[in-house]
Amino acid sequence: MNLTWMAWTLPTAIFFIAIVSILTAMTIWQIKAPSAERKGFLPISTTPGDRLFIGLLSSAFIHLAWIGLTTLNLWIAFVIALIWIIVLMRWG
């Protein structure tokens, strides 16, 4: 299949492979050890899937805010977002 029209680049390929890997890992985790909703520091009860979604979406906004408001290296935003997702998954 010719995928030239999709204009793939290495960074975007890595990005999507990472997202698919996370989703696959989460699915396997849920099948092996089904988890229930729980209440952490977030104002709503969430499942691990909910927390991952919130984490990914908020990470996107962290990156956008970083690009819009600073001229600093984007990797710093990436590290902040990664820490935020870990905190959210563990205590959210």
């Binding site: 680049t9 960074p11 999507f16 979406l57 906004f61 984007l74």
Partner: protein
Amino acid sequence: MNKWEDNKAWFLVIPVFLIVAVSAIIPLMTVVNYSIQDIFGPDNRIFVGIEWYQEALSDHRLHAAFQRQLLFSGLVLLIEIPLGILIALTMPKRGWGASLSLVLVALPLLIPWNVIGTIWIIFMRPDIGLLGSAINGLGIPFDHTAASLDAWVTVMLMEVWHWTPLVVLMAYAGLQAIPEAYFQAARIDGASAWSVFRYIQLPKMRGVLTIAILLRFMDSFLIYAEPFVLTGGGPGNSTTFLSIYLVKQAVGQFDLGPASAFSIIYFLIVLLACWIFYQALLKVGTGDKQ
């Protein structure tokens, strides 16, 4: 349920998954790929990293379009939700009047979006349009192609005319679902019409109204066809909403990279709004009052 039945269910889900993949996920992936490159052709593209995102986030025209969009969606909710409830309250509850009013109210919803724009262009024309010439006949200068305020008034009138019926139908369904016993109890207690509305009808409509607010916000936030046909985003940029600005950039100027970056930002905003409303709907579904 045995394992074979479980597997059969998966076969039923696969076509939907494939359709979503082809129609949504693959195009979205392509847009992400485009958003970090300068595209001149399939084999002629340059990696630019986050440049288009920086450009989009510092673009004052985009900020203006975003503010316009928020104002538009805010006005839509402020007008359509109370008006829809008011009309639903005044509609007949049973008999032929109920059927007739439902059909009449639903009529604008049946007209294709681009036709709506054309109808209102003609309707509001200052020379031959029924409403446009009537307003001018009263001595009020009105021209939606020349004055920003007039264009906004026209777009809002069109939007309210087109979509308030959806709110009416939903509110009406919510009202019809309230058991008669509530009203009997209110009558025995001597409750006023306002009290009946405030303490019986409004709380009972909470679910349908949340869905109505969700639908109207999302639809109005993504609006394109009607204002594009009616005003083309003008006069100037006064009715250039987010999607009109995006199409101008992508199709008009063929700036696929910046338009893709902007699309991703737009998508994330819509996704956030959807999620917030989805949480609100879940609360309504579980009867959580907080």
